[in-house]
Symmetry: C2
Subunit: 494 residues, 2 copies
Amino acid sequence: MGEYGEKRTEAISISWKPDRQSKIPLYSQIVSYFSEKISSGDWVSGQVLPSQRKLSELFEVNRSTIVEAMDELASLGMIESGFGGGTRIANDSWSLLMQDKAPDWQSYIKASGFRANVPTVQIINHLEFEEGITRMSTGELSPDLMQLDLTRKVLSSLSSRDLFMNYPDPLGMPGLRAALQAHLREIGIDAPLSCILIVSGALQALQLISMGIVQAKSTVYVESPSYLGSLNIFQSVGAKLQGVPLDASGILPWMIREPQSNGCHSLLYTIPTFQNPTGCVMPVSRRKEVLKYCKENHMPVIEDDVFRDLWLDEMPPPPIKALDQSGSVVYIGSLSKCFSPGLRLGWLVGPESVVQRLADVKMQMDYGVSVLTQQVVEELFRSGLYYTGVNTIRQQLRERRDLMMRLLEKYFGDLAEWNRPAGGFFIWVRLKNRVLSEQLFNRALKEGLLILPGSVYDMGYSSSLRLTYGYLSAEEMELGMRRLSEILRDMNRK
Amino acid sequence: MGEYGEKRTEAISISWKPDRQSKIPLYSQIVSYFSEKISSGDWVSGQVLPSQRKLSELFEVNRSTIVEAMDELASLGMIESGFGGGTRIANDSWSLLMQDKAPDWQSYIKASGFRANVPTVQIINHLEFEEGITRMSTGELSPDLMQLDLTRKVLSSLSSRDLFMNYPDPLGMPGLRAALQAHLREIGIDAPLSCILIVSGALQALQLISMGIVQAKSTVYVESPSYLGSLNIFQSVGAKLQGVPLDASGILPWMIREPQSNGCHSLLYTIPTFQNPTGCVMPVSRRKEVLKYCKENHMPVIEDDVFRDLWLDEMPPPPIKALDQSGSVVYIGSLSKCFSPGLRLGWLVGPESVVQRLADVKMQMDYGVSVLTQQVVEELFRSGLYYTGVNTIRQQLRERRDLMMRLLEKYFGDLAEWNRPAGGFFIWVRLKNRVLSEQLFNRALKEGLLILPGSVYDMGYSSSLRLTYGYLSAEEMELGMRRLSEILRDMNRK
Ligand SMILES: Cc1ncc(COP(=O)(O)O)c(C=O)c1O
Ligand SMILES: Cc1ncc(COP(=O)(O)O)c(C=O)c1O
């Protein structure tokens, strides 16, 4: 990843422009901007400035304004000519500015305990918003698939109603929790209102769990590969992830060699339904076995069920939570995958003491979920529009999956192996010839194709990648898959 | 606080009811409910059950159903008759159930590093949602003051427009950031879009700062008393708060005895405008002095400016951030106090490297703020409706403040001292005769009056309390203030 991760220290990138409305002269705005970048540590000594012509384009000002600003910066000792031509940030520019003293932010950032995101994930987080990028693996549905009309309908009905706009109840708005209670009952989960917590998406549920019930040195057992493998959440509180093998029916917990004893507070995290990234569905029998194993080991189960409503062939078995009388399972749902990730709305169901604890943690983090979003989602469920929406999405996803299957046959028949997903929108592709998907990632990115290498999920999966059929149009899918196969063939040749 | 804090271990409280639609017999639903409560550790050995009559009322079932359920529970060994009559959770009920083994959740909760909220704050968080409670100190405006019509107007205009419903950009939606950029320019802050981060309220901004740029053993200097004193955020990452004295012009940073040296990464947190709880406004001269002091000590300033738009007499001086050319200040704003806390929308402005870091932390916590809320708030600013709204709120708050001043004169003239706030909605009342506000809190709560004792903000302020004129109606304010003064007089007599 060095190619991307270290970019910042080599060339200066500028997205700022001077403000033409302002009364401050343009050249002096530019001087201030440079000073701030240097004093804040964003730009460091030795970094090369873009050429004057480039700067005048970037800032949309005359060349003469740039010359004026550069003269001033040079006379302040902040920039200097480089040896091989070009202009650089001067050697002692920072200490010069430090006479107008700023904190050393970089050292604040480095000293804090929280881990930066996995570098590949950070890059992807940013690239997904850039133009000219073809998102072949993204974790969200295409805007075309999202039922915007339904959301508009809900907004319009809310616009003529009583609204609640105060701080929400620590557990979330009672009306929304009641609507979700009914929704959960449909899939076999019978939960009192006091055991349902509204959260800002499934990711926040995991974050609350890591802060509220996990201790440093705990082990979190996860499917190998698993979505959790792409996140730092549990590692940030000092816990460690341990991969557990999967077969076609899902995780095999009895393969855990020596489960940590009770005192160490281990957890099992599973995505039993349309697993991310493998697409695997756990049958009822395995669900029972997993629950039994965890109960015998006094080990909580975190069940992440965000894909459930995107079944394509037949309804999946009930959640593990529905089989659990003992209070061993904490269940997580979300609207992100099946309706809209932008709503940032999810729910967590667990024993009352756990829910209370996590609600307290949440109150300390952000005082709860936007009540506007909560009221929209309540209406979405009450009106039944949610079900109308997922129904439509499912139909379209079925066609998309079938297209993807044809494209894989056509372009990857001899290059890779894959499964036929029964739900969700991911395909897990295992490359033959031991091609490293990180290398494929870099090569593909040069042509604007963004894929997710399997190593992000688990270091053991360096020859796999995740693809989606939920995002691109049919033409883009065909184009992307063809191009990707060509790149792969080219790599195989070398 | 013992009275409230320990309630849970004494009597069992039940809000659950059996489901009459379900095919499972009522008595057996009750047995399952009891088993779950016991196995999850919510109910512990020795706790007394409500009487059978009470239970039949609570569950809305016949007495005979209760008898059937109790018989079953007794024969399972889970309940037993108490010595002084009544029925209790049996001594070894938990271990009996543990043959159907659940995790020991309480020990998971205890082992995790995250601190529970300050007990008084936890109690208040819950009581604020209970009926029959008069909220005399609450941190939000009355629903009457919130400009619901304006929000409805925005919803209606969004309902016929293009909506964005995908995952948001890590910094927040560009359109909203541009709208806020214009808003910030009005108060003297000139920030590029890449230095503005959208957050779920000011509290989350503080949370991100504590996780992203604070290290264990850092010192966070705060006004004494300060809003931050009522939160655990910084302590939860191992930093410590240190109070710094205030005078009428705000914090006196040079009273910090030995500022931590650079290596230890200390911070200064200040609320210069309508400080919570004192209402203090820092004049420009002090703002400059504070900034100068912090720059000289290479110490970042966290400026919390959530009350700014609620000025009642005259516009407050520009933010410290507007005076800062060096990149020393991280600025925080929010809609919670001036428009609606339920929206959970705030913003943070700082040097690009800090904003990038905090955006990365936020991506790991919840993937960003609800895009629905972001689009509503963008429209609120673009249409100017936000300014219409705060204008109306200000007018009404002025009348409310003046009423509060009259009530204080009338009922508390000889009991306390206070200031006349120039903005916001809090009054800081210092009790004479060394009455402890914690005691007043307990006495008042017995009569349904909920106040915030000063000790929550800082242990040194045990004879102060915060009151609000932003929540109750005129009648409720008069009634509450009279009753509170009577209680206080009564306590003074004893
Ligand atoms: C298995 C799984 N859980 C949780 C999430 C996060 O969902 P949310 O957007 O609700 O936070 C994702 C999204 O990628 C996921 O794939
Ligand atoms: C000074 C101050 N900062 C921040 C907050 C939290 O605001 P928000 O609701 O935006 O998280 C409050 C609310 O009580 C406050 O008084």
